[in-house]
């Protein structure tokens, strides 16, 4: 659906040139929710702005729905942009227009006739749950409501793609959840491709299918969220994930432990999360285990669990336990 090829974006001239993106390749599949995570200054904002050419790349190609946007003239680009919705961290609503007029705005730009606009806007008001606020002005709405208007406006021209530029970063946790849930609903209902950028792992974890980690203008890690989240390879990715459970994992590693015991990290994914694999295996092999740290949660809809355990007992039996648990389909990382 979206393909960036060798995209480079430089700012400034001569010696003061800074490279925000360097020869970046990225592919987003149709219908998926794709997350890009990175620290501020990593280039993620530039990246998403390149997808509708709000920022024109210095070099490289930007393909959206089979069209290379960088090759279009002004008029053609304006037409293509109507197929790409965008929402923003600070909502960017017209402060002088009512909720209704804000949502109608993209349709009026495209000279859609009045009755069609009314039908579409009412449908969208219902979708985002703002029927009661149609005549209010943005200043009278809460942050979450403003973002709902933003989403409705972005959907008005039936786009193929929705770009979310830090869409929940200005919202409190509860509102963030409700907005994310709305995005997920929209994704499922309309098979809309969604690209979002964020600096919060929790956002990625709750709705994304795939994720890319951006660092210093390049993608350092990319893959299914379950994959990247549970087995992060790059230090930056680890940092983002440790940000959540990091401290207690650190404490677990400091637990008393000597040559006669082994520290392991077990990862359960999917239905196995609810299986009693560990205790069954331990009973068979006769080893003991202590749970030092544990998480059970969900990535989008997929349950997962992660335990740091200390095995105690005969060395051979401990090895056997690890092998058996692996054979049952758990991922085991021996930490010592």
């Amino acid at each position: 659906m979206i393909e960036l090829k060798q995209v480079t974006k430089k700012y400034g001239k001569g010696l003061q040139t800074t490279e925000a993106l360097s020869r970046l390749d990225l592919t987003v599949q149709k219908g998926e929710i794709f997350g890009v995570i990175g620290h501020s200054g990593a280039g993620k904002s530039t990246l998403i702005r390149c997808m509708n050419l709000l920022e024109r790349p210095t070099s490289g190609e930007v393909w959206v729905d089979g069209v290379d946007l960088t090759k279009l003239n002004k008029q053609q680009l304006q037409n293509q942009r109507r197929k790409i919705g965008m929402i923003f961290q600070h909502f960017n609503l017209l402060s002088s227009a009512s909720v209704y007029d804000n949502i109608a705005f993209p349709l009026r730009l495209a000279h859609v006739d009045k009755t069609q606009i009314a039908a579409k806007v009412n449908e969208l008001l219902q979708l985002v749950g703002l029927e009661a606020h149609r005549d209010k002005y943005p200043a009278q709405l809460s942050g979450g409501q403003k973002q709902r208007v933003g989403i409705a406006r972005a959907l008005a021209s039936d786009p193929q793609v929705l770009l979310c530029d830090e869409a929940t970063s200005a919202l409190d946790p509860q509102t963030t959840d409700s907005i994310l849930k709305l995005l997920l609903d929209i994704n499922r209902k309309f098979h809309l491709t969604i690209v979002l950028i964020t600096h919060e792992m929790q956002v990625i974890q709750s709705i994304c299918d795939r994720v890319a980690v951006i660092h210093q203008g390049g993608i350092v890690e990319e893959g299914a969220v379950t994959e990247v989240f549970l087995k992060p390879q790059h230090p930056v990715t680890r940092e983002f994930i440790l940000g959540q459970a990091g401290e207690s994992a650190q404490l677990a590693l400091q637990a008393p432990h000597d040559g006669s015991s082994r520290l392991c990290k077990l990862t359960f994914l999917g239905e196995k999360t609810y299986d009693s694999i560990l205790s069954r295996t331990a009973r068979e092999t006769g080893v003991d285990f202590a749970i030092l740290q544990g998480t059970i949660s969900k990535i989008k809809d997929i349950p997962y669990g992660q335990l740091i355990i200390r095995l105690e007992g005969d060395a051979g039996q401990m090895e056997k336990t690890i092998q058996k648990v692996k054979a049952e389909g758990l991922d085991v990382e021996v930490l010592d």
Binding site: N52, L77, R82, M86, F88, N92, L94, S96, F105, L109
Partner: protein, 222 residues
């Protein structure tokens, strides 16, 4: 009272002068807005361009606007006499005052327009751009409506400035209350005429400012 005698005032002449002032004010305001608004938008648009040529256009426009704003209005009236005659045929009276009023006030208003357009949140412009809005659509449907309270405040300031300009034009044979104040009050020592003229202008400015403030408030959504 203070040796003033208002019973001898020629009210007929005062009402004619008041009407003349209102005529000059109305006509010059309309033309100032018609010229100043596009000029302000042009200043704003050219100043933001990434194209070096367009920015040169901005610099040139900017210098012209600054020159017109720095020439004292009284000198501008005299300097513009040939231009005024070419346009309206006369260089005095109500008609002859309007061109210099417009030339004097339009650059001033254009700057105020430019300033209030700069106040518009860039994010909103970006959002409109992301929705495929053309440059004209952005100007007409985003910039101007979003800047409306600022534009109205600027228009109010401009009209008030025009009131004082019309008075100054009285020095060089323009009509209206300023002319009356100078002819009777200054040259003939009839303080009463001067006081009444000034009083009327104070009331006029007050009314204009109040109306302007009310409009600004009505259109402010923040």
């Amino acid at each position: 009272m203070w040796g003033l005698d208002f019973s001898q005032l020629d009210w007929n002449e005062i009402s004619v002068a008041s009407l003349d002032t209102l005529k000059m004010l109305a006509a010059s305001s309309v033309f100032t807005f018609i010229l100043g608004l596009p000029l302000g938008v042009l200043l704003y648009q050219t100043s933001r361009s990434s194209n070096a040529w367009v920015r040169t256009v901005y610099s040139v426009l900017s210098v012209i606007v600054n020159i017109l704003r720095s020439v004292p209005f009284i000198i501008l009236i005299v300097a513009l006499i040939p231009f005024t005659i070419a346009i309206v045929g006369v260089s005095y009276g109500v008609l002859g005052t309007i061109p210099p009023l417009v030339i004097g006030a339009a650059p001033f208003f254009a700057r105020l327009v430019e300033t209030s357009l700069r106040e518009v949140d860039r994010g909103v412009l970006e959002a409109a751009q992301s929705m495929g809005a053309s440059t004209w659509q952005i100007i007409l449907k985003v910039l101007l409506p979003e800047a409306r309270p600022g534009l109205l405040a600027g228009a109010t300031i401009t009209v008030v400035t025009l009131v004082s300009y019309t008075a100054m034009s009285g020095m060089v044979g323009g009509g209206g209350l300023g002319d009356l104040a100078i002819r009777y009050g200054y040259y003939r020592y009839q303080k009463e005429v001067m006081i009444i003229s000034v009083l009327f202008m104070i009331i006029l400015v007050q009314l204009l400012q109040m109306a302007g403030d009310r409009l600004v408030k009505h259109f402010t959504r923040k």
